[in-house]
Symmetry: C2
Subunit: 206 residues, 2 copies
Amino acid sequence: MPKKVDHEARRLEISEALWRIAGTRGLDSVSLRDVAAEADISLGRLQHYFHSRDEMLLFALRHGNRLADQRIRAHIEALTEEPSPRTVLRTCLSTMLPLDEKSRTGLLVAASYFTRAVHDETLRAEAKDGIPQLRALFTDQLRAAAERGDLAPDRATEEEAMLLISLVDGLSAYVLLDVHTPEQALRLLDLHLTNLFDAKERHADH
Amino acid sequence: MPKKVDHEARRLEISEALWRIAGTRGLDSVSLRDVAAEADISLGRLQHYFHSRDEMLLFALRHGNRLADQRIRAHIEALTEEPSPRTVLRTCLSTMLPLDEKSRTGLLVAASYFTRAVHDETLRAEAKDGIPQLRALFTDQLRAAAERGDLAPDRATEEEAMLLISLVDGLSAYVLLDVHTPEQALRLLDLHLTNLFDAKERHADH
């Protein structure tokens, strides 16, 4: 294996050890030593790949974000030939909820990272990195829905897209805390989408 | 000072030291020793009041929740004589957003606590402790609004109350990450409330 590919593969293996810890007891007080033990390598070996806890967390977070993007894309590609903008939106948003172990673990890594990011500008930039693209994607879908007559045109805005993103973030936190079951969170998301899209029907038909 | 009152007063002083750390660099890797240093007491003295980091975090979280309740109540009492249910709702919800240093710090303590609570049933029970009361309060306000004809009756539900709580939680997280300014979060909250209450007008008038 070329040296660079091998280096990346080792870093992914270590990330997976970190994720296993995140999924079972959380990362709150996890040290490089704990992760080395979980990955079954020495601390010195781990430090060859990651120089600090933050560097390791950052790598694991980026890896998790890539996996989440892939999950969203795979769910969209699995849809029927011509999914409506509303279906695309719901698919993306529900994939962001912790409905299975993988997305749950991804959110736990992100949450571990969150409290550090609040106090560190570099980490914060990374944590919010994907949000503008997500907002643009959702705004596009809302506009496409309005063009088809599925949504009131005045609801096809960046602000409505940010409401959707913020709501899913809050719903996810409450699933992790067992306030909502995953099913309840999905029903609440569907209620919000029904309110959003039905406003148009009410406006036009009643 | 009676001994019990003194004990409680000392615990509050230590909590305030913890809160100062939460507001500046976060609690992610904060030890009892760090808090003792910030409170300007010895570690042994601190351990006289708190036997573990979790006990200290729990006390500080409960204290913070009490302060947040007091802030909400003070804001409601400052309203004009007969505030509408919609005004009461907006006042409660906006007080839950990190619009000033105190609520920001309170949310940071809660966030520090969050990742531990996900993996610990006792801590989780505490973290979600206030949510049923909040849901009941908001559901009551929605029902009162519907009775006055300010809200479509089918929107006066526990589910709409949970959407409001979940949304404010997500908006708050994004303010802490600098995705939204506090003003933008407040505008998004107002957009959601307008959508909620205007659905009725659209239904009835157009």
